[in-house]
């Protein structure tokens, strides 16, 4: 069950991720990315990261991607010129490099479990809100606060930069 779900989600994620980078229309790319994020949320659920799965949707799909859409619509860039051409050396190089990267990573990660041991038995409450919250507000309190500062800074920065008249 879990395995077949994984394959379904993974296939969805991969296909839609490919759509993200291959679509010439940015809106399609954005929508494809939303689908990828949803699939990832599903995979998170399979990995017992319940809280993160939901947060993935709320933050990524609900906020970040809406922002992307907003900007795309605001700027309305239109379709990009045709960029995929097998004769273009740049694209050839990038494709080859990517294949090399994938090949090496695949070989390298194979047998990772041999190093770090078999999967620990599931306790069922690994990624619950309670657990995440407890860890976040005890062990990772300082990073959490710093992250909030980061968000504040980026907020101010974003407002400043998009403001037309800085006065």
């Amino acid at each position: 069950m879990t395995e077949s779900l994984f394959f379904v989600f993974a296939a969805m994620a991969i296909v839609s991720a490919l759509m993200v980078i291959l679509n010439r229309n940015p809106i399609y790319s954005a929508v494809s990315l939303v689908i990828t994020l949803f699939s990832l949320a599903g995979i998170f659920l399979l990995l017992e990261a319940y809280f993160l799965a939901v947060v993935q949707i709320i933050i990524y799909a609900g906020a970040i991607m809406v922002l992307f859409l907003f900007v795309i619509m605001l700027l309305n860039p239109g379709k990009e010129a045709k960029f995929l051409s097998p004769t273009n050396p740049r694209i050839l190089i990038i494709t080859l490099l990517s294949i090399a990267f994938i090949g090496m990573i695949f070989t390298l990660v194979s047998g990772t479990a041999n190093y770090i041991g078999e999967a620990a038995s599931s306790t069922g409450d690994l990624g619950t809100t309670r657990n995440i919250g407890l860890t976040l507000f005890t062990k990772y309190l300082l990073p959490f606060e710093i992250a909030s500062l980061l968000l504040l800074v980026s907020l101010v920065g974003a407002v400043l930069m998009t403001k037309r008249n800085l006065r």
Binding site: I21, S29, S98, G111, A113, A120
Partner: protein
């Protein structure tokens, strides 16, 4: 039947490379940004997969922070894109070449 860790890692690597290829191939800054999000998410998958593998919550906390970072990055990045568009009337990454000699 839970899929083994390798599956998740392979999947994440694939997603990551797709993101990389997007960054390198595309000329639209917004798409490039989205590809970066793809890469971030691929990393998140590995984090969570390892977290599950070791039954350790820390990996998920990292994912939480990555998301925070992504949110901040997108906010600032999109603001830059908007400001750039106002100046150059373009979101083609090749027009954003002020950072040179």
């Amino acid at each position: 039947m839970t899929p083994p860790l390798e599956y998740y890692l392979w999947f994440a690597a694939l997603l990551f490379v797709i993101g990389v290829a997007g960054v390198l191939l595309r000329r639209n800054v917004i798409i490039v940004f989205m590809s970066i999000e793809l890469m971030l998410n691929a990393v998140n998958v590995t984090f969570i997969a390892f977290s599950r593998q070791m039954n350790n919550i820390d990996g998920q906390i990292f994912v939480f922070f990555v998301m925070t970072l992504a949110a901040a990055e997108v906010a600032v990045g999109l603001a830059i894109i908007v400001a750039m568009f106002r100046n150059k009337e373009s979101i083609n990454i090749e027009d954003m070449n002020l950072l040179k000699w």
